[in-house]
């Protein structure tokens, strides 16, 4: 625990800003029911009421500080609930993609031969489809339930994780300490868990951050096409889509959830950059 704190303190300013951004998002996601003045679906006024500095906002109690959306729901409340849905979904999906992708990648690197051949060719086939097309086809056939959404995106992401973990594990697998473990007679599970995983962790964690961003961008894209989370559930992508028309009237409402997406993405990327620099062993000489 102390070591983790020490590590966080040694982070450069950019990474600290990123951490704060992530923290704000996580707090919003966890405490959404407390923070949000209204519920996710409650209609509180007219469509597209203006933001806090206008008189519209204060006529409500509590005030609608970011205005209302196209059917008059409080935008700030939907944004906090949206954080919860978007982040939770992205987290579950990325975690699933990593467990499957990394496990099979490590396995292919250690077993080599036909195991590697089989897994790699399956991955090649999956990678041959453009991701959005693949997702659209599967989602239109299987329906757009949250479970299907998670599985489709996790599958698509796991093939990329597989590629990276296989490459990382192949570099580690040739080390003498892995050979020493094999000569000791250690089984596959020990070699994966105790010899390879700890040494592959840093590059994989940084990849995790990147994938995480891509997942909620992808969900946003799907929501935008109407295949993501279904209304009235709030998520940032669909909020942009629902309010998109407002932009032609000069109303800024759709830009607010878009900014939330941008804020979290930049935050995660700042932290990931720091991890990547650490993983590559580049030292900043002052």
């Amino acid at each position: 625990m102390y070591q983790v704190l020490k590590l966080l303190r040694s982070a450069p300013t950019s990474a600290k800003i990123g951490m704060v951004a992530i923290l704000i998002n996580v707090v919003c996601a966890v405490f959404a029911p407390v923070l949000a003045p209204y519920s996710e679906t409650q209609v509180v006024g007219d469509g597209w009421e203006s933001v806090m500095w206008s008189t519209d906002a204060v006529k409500h109690d509590p005030p609608v500080i970011l205005g209302t959306d196209h059917i008059g729901r409080d935008l700030f409340s939907r944004l906090t609930y949206g954080a919860r849905n978007t982040i939770a979904l992205a987290l579950v999906t990325t975690a699933l993609a990593f467990s499957v992708g990394a496990a099979s990648g490590f396995l292919a690197a250690i077993m080599k031969g036909w195991v590697d051949m089989l897994l790699s060719r399956i991955v090649d086939i999956l990678m041959a489809f453009p991701t959005l097309i693949f997702a659209l086809v599967v989602l239109s056939v299987m329906g757009t339930s949250t479970t299907v959404l998670i599985f489709v995106i996790a599958t698509l992401d796991s093939v990329r994780v597989y590629r990276i973990s296989r490459a990382v594990a192949m570099d580690i697998e040739v080390m003498d300490y892995v050979e020493a473990a094999k000569l000791r007679g250690e089984g596959l599970w020990w070699i994966i868990k105790d010899e390879i995983l700890p040494n592959a962790l840093l590059p994989l964690v940084s990849e995790f951050g990147l994938r995480f961003c891509f997942v909620f961008l992808f969900i946003s894209a799907l929501s935008f096409l109407g295949l993501g989370l279904q209304p009235p559930t709030a998520d940032w992508g669909s909020m942009v889509r629902e309010n998109a028309a407002a932009i032609s009237f000069g109303i800024l409402t759709p830009l607010i959830p878009a900014a939330a997406i941008g804020f979290l993405t930049v935050g995660v990327n700042l932290v990931v950059d720091w991890f990547l620099r650490k993983a590559s062993g580049i030292k900043d000489v002052k």
Binding site: D176, L183, R184, N199
Partner: protein
Amino acid sequence: MSEATRLLTIQDLWIEGYQDERWYEIVCGVSLHLDRGEVLGLIGESGAGKSTIGIASMGVTTAGCRITSGSIEFDGQELFGAGEETLRKLRGTRIAYVAQSAAAAFNPAHKLKQQFAETAVQEGLMTYTQAEKRAKELFRRLDLPDPDHIGNRYPHQVSGGQLQRCMVAMAMACNPDLIVFDEPTTALDVTTQIEVLGAIKEVIEAYNMSAIYITHDLAVVAQIADRIMVLRHGEEAETNTTREIIDNPREDYTRALLSVRKRRGETVDHGHQDTILKVESVTAEYGNGIVVLDGVSTKIERGKTVSVVGESGSGKSTLARVITGLLPPIGGEVRFQGQLIPQQTKMRDKELLRRMQMIYQMADTALNPKQRVRKIVGRPLSFYFGMTGKQREERILELLDRIELGEKYIDRFPGELSGGEKQRICIARALAAEPELIICDEITSALDQLVAEGILKLLQNLQNELAVSYLFITHDLDTVKAISDEIVVMYQGKVVEQGPAQQILNPPYDPYTDLLLSSAPEMDPDWLPSVIEHRKELQKQGVNIQT
């Protein structure tokens, strides 16, 4: 010495290196001087700052280092603080540098003569045709085969020793005043080293050049240098003429470096006369059909040390891979205590694996950097003997004690250990399994001389106490002399000669063994000319000497 002949004067030089967010002193106030036509040897163990000083004599440092104070005066010109443009003009034309690994220093995409001519032509000192002519002259001087056409080859088309000589030629292309040699023969086989050393010595004398020769091997530098400076922890320990350093060292440290490894003392006879391991006419090849082991047979008795010696490519490490089951042989058999054992590691049972342990050359890569010493040493205990908790903890401490490291090491990561300590942890890991045979693959070649000696002593003590057998793979003849009961000499996948150490190391020699033995540098400035003579004789007897 008159001032006119003084080429380089370094005074009170301080250099710092950046590591772990801090600046550390690497060189602490070293002063030296070099006259025209003189060769200065810089010698010390790793971390002594010898390479840093060598590079600093060109007025530069490697990335992450900085010169903090001092003066570097080259031919009347101050280099410390001089502009990049001034230094660039000097480098390559007036000061040249020869790196340790020629293979890494040459660009594989260009012909040798193109790389030879690059600096000279760029600086406008010669035309390409003139440079070509000079290349041929130098190649001839350096005894390279076919000097008129070797320049048309690419770096991968010549051998390691030849490439190193090409680099010497390249350094001399512009006829510089000073050449800095940074461990130019360290990466070469002993037999190849002689040719390169001879060539360097000859051209230095022929062109009356000044040179700084950096190495960790006192015997090597004694062949070339007029004066030697011994460095330790970034400070000067002693400077004197080569003869004086060797005959009358003043410092204890120099004396320690000088002490040639003694033939070991009495070994304990454990009374058993059983054969632990027997290898019978084993033949092995890698996937591409190249035979790397050709009918090799040998055996190891309990409590004895068998050394396998040979140059790189002789198949000695492959023999270890066959014995451990990492490379199944295509012919022959391996018996452990009379039992025929499965060819592949994964077919062998736990008990058999336990009795045969391995120690690697690079302790850095043999220890998992993310595991603490407790886990590294403790794992074999729980894996083979099912030890847990307090019992395991006590045994780990006992093992750490045995390898002469204390209990304070138990919570460290490999990154927090020195090279010698890491190798000791590897030994502890092997011992934890209570093996009957330990295969040691070049375990001392990555270590400094004094550290290596400590490791060898430790292995000897352990053998006396535990009656463990060693299969010791090495190319270092001093090590072989120091530890072996039996010696196996290998050349190109075949056993040239094997037998008790006394018999192999004393005349009459097998011609190839003679070549190997005579190639090990001796602490005698007159050794090089005599060994070159000796090699000519051996060649007449039909020994194939690879350059």
